[in-house]
């Protein structure tokens, strides 16, 4: 919330403008707790306790309900190495319940975090129950059967046994993604500046950009894999293709849409043409660049996984494809969960950079 905008209307003469110390006092209205528009369920603190009970309930179900119902036997109905050890799953549930209990005093003390978590309490409860139900339906009752529907028990029992191998795939994917996206951003921003600023570049390159941008990057895959060796080079090329055009397009849009009056005022202040580009046009385009980067990121995720599935020897996409050929679907689910975590972290990092660079927009734009 910015207090500055509120301040000025009150200050009638220049020089006395200052931030207001507090809202006017002595209002006859009874004080009402304001509802936070973002964390509007923050009041549902009781649900926090229910969420803890949710994890406890799922844990109890895991301990109490007997699994391996007659009629289904490991080694006969599914492969003998199918992981069914519930220890990790139970540790996770206990850890979640414990963490929530331990966090409670901290959340009470720091409203900034508390509001956020209490707002999510109902959802956390639902998540805890969902885990329990999922476990019951798969590893206990076997209504949903292996190999296509592994339970949380199976996935969690598997993950640590293959951690080193998986880490290798995560690193391979992340490295490829980072190189591809960074090259794409550099190429995209560069091209965007050229076509946004110089009309010759716009005339020749913009139609090409528009045409090529319509075609999904994966369509180039057969050509790329044949012409570019080794495979990582081909995949980097695809990632660059996937991000380049959209970033260039948004960059160009951002530059072209700069209000004329900003150029005019800069020129009356003594600005040269290069000053207009670097200190007026490009800053004006920054929000657009980040929109472009966000879009390019999701396009790149898509391209990365598709490319790895088809022509790689490492990476999470490759691992999914590899697991499928051995009917180890629990590995597919594990890879999907890992992808969710890794991609979320990448998105969060980009968002962090964006918030830092665009902090002048705070309070100006709904984010």
């Amino acid at each position: 919330m910015n207090t500055l905008a509120l301040a000025e209307t009150a200050s009638s003469s220049p020089g006395t403008a200052q931030t207001p110390s507090s809202p006017p006092r002595g209002c006859a209205e009874p004080r009402q707790a304001p509802v936070d528009p973002r964390y509007w369920k923050a009041g549902s603190r009781g649900w926090y306790a229910v969420a803890i009970l949710g994890f406890v309930a799922s844990l109890t179900a895991s301990l109490a309900v007997p699994g391996n119902l007659p009629g289904l036997k490991p080694g006969k109905d599914f492969s003998p190495d199918y992981p069914l050890d519930p220890t990790n799953y139970r540790i996770l549930l206990a850890a979640c319940a414990g963490a929530l209990v331990l966090l409670y005093p901290i959340l009470r003390r720091v409203p900034r975090w508390g509001d956020r978590v209490f707002h999510k309490a109902q959802f956390i409860f639902a998540g805890a129950l969902a885990l329990g139900v999922w476990d019951l339906l798969t590893s206990k009752l076997f209504w949903m059967r292996p190999p296509y529907f592994p339970g949380p028990v199976t996935i969690l029992a598997y993950l640590p046994t293959n951690a080193v191998n998986l880490l290798g795939h995560i690193v391979a994917s992340s490295r490829l993604f980072a190189i591809g996206l960074l090259l794409g951003i550099v190429a995209g921003v560069g091209t965007g500046i050229l076509i946004g600023w110089y009309r010759q570049w716009f005339y020749w390159l913009y139609p090409v950009l528009k045409f090529t941008g319509v075609v999904p990057a994966t369509a180039w895959m057969p050509i790329a894999t044949v012409l570019l060796k080794p495979p990582p080079v081909a995949m980097t090329f695809l990632l660059v293709i996937a991000s380049w055009f959209i970033i260039a397009f948004m960059m160009c849009q951002g530059i072209v849409s700069t209000p004329k009056v900003l150029y005019e005022v800069s020129r009356t202040l003594g600005a040269t043409r290069s000053y207009l580009l670097f200190h007026v046009a490009i800053p004006h385009a920054t929000p657009s660049i980040f929109t472009g980067i966000s879009m390019a990121t999701s396009m790149s995720f898509l391209t990365l996984v598709a490319a790895e599935m088809m022509g790689a020897t490492a990476g999470l996409g490759y691992f999914i494809n590899y697991s499928k050929t051995f009917s180890k679907y629990y590995q597919v689910y594990a890879a999907i969960i890992i992808m969710f975590i890794v991609f979320s972290v990448i998105l969060a990092l980009i968002d962090l950079v964006k918030k830092r660079v665009l902090r002048w927009q705070e309070g100006l734009v709904e984010q």
Partner: protein, 261 residues
């Protein structure tokens, strides 16, 4: 002594053929060093066009414009311009906005100590790190004025800078402007459609009429400063200008009750 701003027989035509509009036709005006001149008239009378020509943001089809003896060939930091909407850079803080002129001319490193002075000059102490969207309209206009003044221009061109402000804020910015004009001894040319504003601030008022845009009369304001808006001389001048602009209304004589606006 030759005038600081010398405009001679300037003509500016927009469009061609049937759509031709004479924004300015044979306009001549001279402004002396340190003078405060207002251009007033209904929309379409070419007052903003004239200001843009002086700034070098536009070129005339005929006539000449000189500032300090030099022909105007394009925008320059010697002719500061304040736009109606302020035109602040939304990504830059108040201090950064005010520093623009220094940075654009490559003298920021040597002269950055002047930025806080100009923040203070327009009464924005404590708001140096605020962003434009956190400011009110009046504050934003004061930033725009400081941003133009830091270059110490020979003439400050003001294009309805108070036009978008409410009447309370308008008076506040007018007083600030007057204060700066007197303290810095700068030359100012103000485009406005507010008769009171023109009388309150100016040494001379240039009344313009549209289609084609031309100067119909130049009125000397010989009232003592500081001026009171309800002074007899003020009100007489007011009704004279309103008459000139055909804005006086249907009833004969002046309308003192409207002066309280």
């Amino acid at each position: 002594m030759s005038p600081l701003v010398d405009i001679a027989h300037v003509t500016r035509v927009y469009g061609n053929g049937k759509d031709e509009t004479h924004a300015l036709q044979d306009v001549s005006l001279q402004v002396a060093q340190g003078e405060f001149v207002s251009l007033i008239g209904p929309s379409g009378c070419g007052k903003t066009t004239l200001l843009r020509l002086i700034a070098g943001l536009d070129v005339p089809q005929g006539g000449t414009l000189h500032v300090a003896g030099e022909q105007i060939s394009g925008p320059s930091h010697e002719r500061g311009y304040v736009f109606q909407q302020g035109a602040l850079f939304p990504w830059a803080t108040v201090a950064q906005n005010i520093a623009t002129g220094l940075k654009a001319r490559g003298v920021y490193r040597q002269q950055q100590h002047r930025v806080p002075e100009y923040v203070e000059l327009v009464g924005l102490d404590g708001f140096a790190e605020a962003y434009p969207h956190q400011l009110s309209g009046g504050m934003a206009q004061r930033v725009a004025i400081a941003r133009a003044l830091i270059n110490e221009p020979r003439v400050l061109l003001l294009d309805e800078p108070m036009g978008a402000l409410d009447s309370f804020t308008r008076v506040e910015v007018q007083d600030k402007l007057l204060d700066l004009w007197q303290r810095l001894g700068s030359t100012m040319i103000l485009v406005t459609h507010d008769v009171d504003e023109a009388i309150y601030l100016s040494d001379r008022i240039v009344v313009m009429t549209p289609r084609p845009g031309r100067i119909s009369e130049i009125i000397d304001v010989s009232l003592d400063r500081p001026r009171a808006r309800d002074d007899d001389g003020f009100l007489r001048l007011r009704s004279r200008i309103l008459d000139k602009l055909n804005l006086a209304g249907s009833r004969p004589g002046a309308h003192p009750e409207r002066a309280s606006r």
